[in-house]
């Protein structure tokens, strides 16, 4: 029962099939001047078109990377470097570490960095954004959807504000791509990060969308590949896999979205009915269709996960104990979730491969676990 799809997803069978020939037969180097290698080029370019079509981009605007983290690093560090110190940097406190860590580096190097707060529903204050945009030209990096809570930021409005202020807009879209339709012809972000393994391609492949005319310095020097923007021989099988994953996801994304969100809603409703003292974390209106972040008061997340794991259910938690740190996740803390709930937060994240039977099983198995742990807890509620 796999309900941890915001962490990673299964590789779609069609993706595995599309990739296999590129290990077995078509293993040439696409840059070669012989037909054996050169013929591979067309498959790389086809995949580039599949990715571009899926997000409403032009093929020339897609750069293949090794993962979402690389895409985020390249977008942030590459843009700041290309701007030669001209830009401020604006982001939020709830970004993924793949954004927050490069941001820490920018701070150390003396850039002006502004981190926007979020309210208890996990939303930013657009008024605050408007104020800080007034400080001067900025690179703004704001995630499209949060990995822990599924809360979606109003990227469409944010882009308009950033563009009106003469800024550059990057969005970490790793969690939303494949779960909701995206059209970059309508929403004019300059840079967008996506990751293969969140949409049923394998780990080890990602992409960065760079709108025409946006200047980004490369992170990896050493080759002419990807238009000189990212050196390194193309990871052909994985690029083909990502292309196929995008095409598959695009086939019926609206239909799957509706089906997945119906399952998620049933899971949420069922838990709220069967368990007392629970709270749903984050904005429930602007939320990914597949994500449910829910806190079980008076008990601790790791204990819940281990019991669920024993029952064959995979989920994740923002509790302190699961990370090895001593504090609950930075997202949960930024939202001001009280300690009584923060340590017991559980994230269920679904995919199109989940079924109604999965939800039934969780709704049947989870309440006894909560009851058992509460009977052990000194805070003694049921």
């Amino acid at each position: 029962m796999y309900l941890d799809n915001n962490a990673t997803t299964s590789v779609a069978p069609e993706v595995i099939e599309a990739m296999t020939p590129f290990f077995r037969d078509l293993w040439g180097n696409p840059s070669s001047m012989h037909a054996f290698g050169g013929q591979v080029r067309q498959y790389v370019e086809n995949a580039r078109r599949q990715v571009a079509d899926f997000i409403g981009a032009d093929k020339s605007e897609i750069i293949f990377t090794s993962c979402g983290t690389e895409s985020n690093n390249m977008a942030i560090r590459g843009t700041m470097e290309a701007s030669a110190g001209r830009l401020n940097f604006i982001t939020t406190r709830v970004e993924h570490p793949a954004v927050l860590e490069p941001v820490r580096m920018l701070k150390d190097r003396g850039y002006n960095v502004i981190e926007l707060d979020v309210d208890s529903s996990g939303q930013i204050d657009l008024g605050q954004l408007k104020r800080v945009l007034g400080y001067g030209p900025a690179l703004v990096s704001i995630m499209w959807a949060n990995n822990e809570t599924g809360v979606m930021f109003p990227v469409s409005e944010i882009v308009d504000m950033v563009k009106a202020a003469g800024g550059i807009m990057h969005t970490d879209a790793v969690q939303i791509v494949g779960k909701m339709p995206i059209d970059l012809r309508a929403i004019k972000v300059d840079l967008l990060s996506l990751s293969g393994h969140k949409l049923h391609a394998p780990k080890g492949i990602g992409a960065l969308y760079v709108r025409k005319g946006t200047r980004v310095a490369p992170l990896l020097l050493g080759g002419h590949q990807e238009g000189g923007k990212r050196g390194g021989t193309e990871n052909v099988p994985y690029i083909v896999g990502l292309g196929m994953a995008c095409e598959l996801a695009g086939k019926n994304i609206s239909g799957e979205m509706t089906r997945v969100s119906a399952m998620r809603d049933r899971l949420q409703k069922g838990i709220l009915e069967k368990c007392s003292n629970v709270r749903v974390n984050g904005d429930q209106v602007h939320r990914l269709p597949n994500t449910l972040n829910i806190s079980f008061l008076y008990i601790e997340g790791e204990s819940i996960l281990y019991h669920l794991s024993d029952l064959g259910i995979a989920a994740s938690s923002g509790s302190a104990c699961t990370s090895g740190s001593l504090e609950p996740s930075h997202v949960i803390r930024a939202m001001g979730v009280p300690f009584i709930a923060a340590h017991g937060s559980i994230r269920f994240s679904l995919s199109r491969y989940n079924t109604d039977a999965d939800i039934d099983y969780v709704l049947e198995s989870l309440p006894p676990v909560i009851k058992k742990l509460r009977s052990i807890s000194p805070f003694g509620r049921t």
């Binding site: 401020n88 701070k107 003396g110 002006n112 960095v113 502004i114 981190e115 800080v132 400080y135 008076y298 008990i299 601790e300 997340g301 790791e302 204990s303 281990y306 019991h307 794991s309 024993d310 509790s319 302190a320 104990c321 699961t322 090895g324 740190s325 001593l326 504090e327 609950p328 300690f339 009584i340 340590h343 009977s375 052990i376 807890s377 000194p378 805070f379 003694g380």
Partner: protein
Amino acid sequence: MWQYTDKVLDHFRNPRNVGTIETPDGSGEVGSMACGDALKLTFKLDKNKKITDVKFQTFGCASAIASSSALTEMIKGKTLEEAEKVTNQDIADYLGGLPEQKMHCSVMGREALEVAIHNYRTGDTSKKILEGKVVCHCFGVTEEEITRVVRDNHLTSVEQVTNYCKAGGACGKCHNDIADIIAKVSGEVHEGDRVEIPPPRKLTTLQKIKQIEETLEKEVRPALRKDGGDIELIDVAGNKVVVALRGMCANCQVARFTLKDVVEAKLKEFVSPDIIVEEDKP
């Protein structure tokens, strides 16, 4: 996933002695909801002063539950004097070991036992005996507590101390104090060959400038940068420090207060109590 031993998983899945004794002879509570784990331990003695019954309730992760369960099994049938000798390492050993980052779970067990025994002997019902100075304010850990885990477990780094008793695990402000305690405990072993430390000398101007720069960098700049500002050191003349605000802060009226109050307070705290801060007037 953590590399838990089978014994840890067994005690987590099937915890022994769960609950509370209605009229206990001793009762101890440690931890809190905020800390992420808490344990309540109650015991009953027979006429020979041996622990006949002991029960626990735990809020916490798998290893916290397992450590509590293990502790109850270990002390059942023991006299208080025997039970008192149980160390956190004994609890960890009983479970076949705990991951380093989870050692604080075993410490919590030992602490609860201590508080419960203290409660039996004195009737004191306070949640935790907070003796001595609190070093880590985030998790409420005292100097005595840190000294004890360092000594009992032969710890040598701040990171280890955090793993064993959580101290220093949040804001990090107490890391220097923890390092001092480690140094003090390791010094106990070599009491004989301790070197006399000379009294602090007056700072040279260069040392002072360096310390001022460090304090500005660590204590002041991060807050200013959050609002897109910065601060620059212009001059140091005796105890007079001249600074200038830059970036967004340069034209901000609120920042004027920042300068006098915060910067001066920080420099007084970290460099010298005699420092006076002035703003550079263009």
